[in-house]
Structure formats: structure tokens, C-alpha cells
Symmetry: C2
Subunit: 108 residues, 2 copies
DNA sequence: CATCTATTTGGCTATTTTGCCAAATATAAA
DNA sequence: TTTATATTTGGCAAAATAGCCAAATAGATG
């Protein structure tokens, strides 16, 4: 009972979105943008990486449709396009907490 | 205003969880396990990949704490440990729908 | 126009991820 | 014990990702 092409494509599309979130720096960026829009240089200061690296992370998130940009003068401001991605954090914390509990249980 | 080590570690931990989900096959597996537990060979039939590949995907999900396993006889049954990951799907569909809308808008 | 600042992109290397095959392991059954 | 089935693991090669530097681009300002 192998998957048809259409179903496969659907999962691939979903994975692309999630993959865009699957990086520490990009999670931090999303977290920051949840509060307010930021320009690239502000995010570089927060992240501490080379600005070209930050720009690449931003383009990955933008490409996935998670954030959007607006150029104002010489700066580019990024903001969260789909706030529901913030719901990920709650569940992720949940998983981490469960894992920690399990760790304790194993050690005992 | 660069990040401290602790904060960095927190985002890294979160990213590890999300990365475990960031693959089409693994999303399919999570989706299936949401309905009921499955043994590896059932999942292999659904996925269509080599069984060693499926096993590796399962170990990644298990390692992240998203699924758990139980050996019964010669088979290993996997089940969802943290159902809240299913909430991801709703938001991901949301993003995909928004992206499609934007596509339409651009074409017009 | 020349220059400055902010951002993106090309190009490169190092690292990680993927997926297969073959071999190892574990349990059940003959 | 031998055999068969289910699963995991080692090892490899191909592909994708990450992050840096340097160069290109774009807008603002003198």
C-alpha cells in the first residue's frame, strides 16, 4: 500500500515549511519577530553571526512563507507573516520537559 | 546585545526537536502513529523505502522524544509519545494556503 | 557623480543528512 | 540447534545545509 505521488508531494511541502524552522538561529529570529518587526542589522546584533549568514536565514524563512519583508530606505524590515508558528514553541517545550522527566526516571 | 550561552542552548534544543520532524517520511510516520501504533514493517509498506531507512527515521523521532517503541515478540511497535506535535500540521497547512493565495495574487 | 550604509548574492569548504546495501542482532518456530 | 522473520547498525557515496569572505546591488546623502 505505497503512497501516491500526490500524497508524497503534500508531505514534502509540509516538510519544507518545518525544515525552514529547524535551526536555532531561525527560531530565535521568529521569536524576535513575534514581538515586533526588525531590520537585518538589528537581528545580526541579536544573533551575533555574520550579516550574510543572517540574511541567508531570513531568505529561507521568507521563502517558506513564514516571514515577509519590507524595504524602507536602505533597510529591510522583516516581520512574522504567519503567527501560528509560535504554537510550535509550546509543544516543543512540552517535548523537552517530557524528555527531562524521562531522564530523571531513568537515572533513579 | 549578543545571546548568552544558556539562551543559545535553549534554541538549539528546540531546533533539535523540530529538525526531527523536518522530513516528509517522518511527517508521514507521525501522521500514521497519530491514528494507532504501527510496527516497522507496516510503516515500511506505507512509506515504500528500504526498511533500514524507515528504521533510521524511527530512531531519529524516538531520539527526539516524539515517539516511543515497545518490542513485542520479534516486532517493534512505535507509537506517538507527544500528540501535541499534531498541532504543527494545522499551522503548516495554514502557511501553505497563505502561500498559494499569494501565488494567485502575484499571477493576477 | 562619489561615497557611505544596509543588504544580498556568488563561491568556497566543512559538516550534516539521506538512503541504500550488507552484516549483525534478536526473537520465534521447526 | 537450525532456520526464518523483524529490526537495527556499520559503512559508504550522494546530496543538502551552514557559515564565512568578498563582491555585487540598492538607496541615501554630500
Amino acid at each position: 500500500m505505497i503512497m501516491d505521488t500526490k500524497t508524497k508531494a503534500r508531505y514534502a511541502a509540509r516538510a519544507r515549511i518545518i525544515k525552514a524552522m529547524a535551526h536555532p538561529t531561525r527560531l530565535l529570529i521568529v521569536d524576535q519577530l513575534a514581538q515586533r518587526e526588525h531590520c537585518v542589522c538589528e537581528l545580526r546584533d541579536l544573533v551575533g553571526d555574520d550579516i550574510s549568514t543572517v540574511s541567508r536565514h531570513l531568505s529561507i524563512l521568507k521563502n517558506a512563507g513564514i516571514i515577509e519583508d519590507e524595504k524602507r530606505g536602505t533597510q529591510v524590515y522583516y516581520s512574522l507573516r504567519v503567527p501560528c508558528v509560535l504554537n510550535f514553541f509550546g509543544c516543543v517545550e512540552n517535548v523537552l520537559k517530557q524528555n527531562a522527566k524521562e531522564q530523571l526516571r531513568v537515572i533513579d
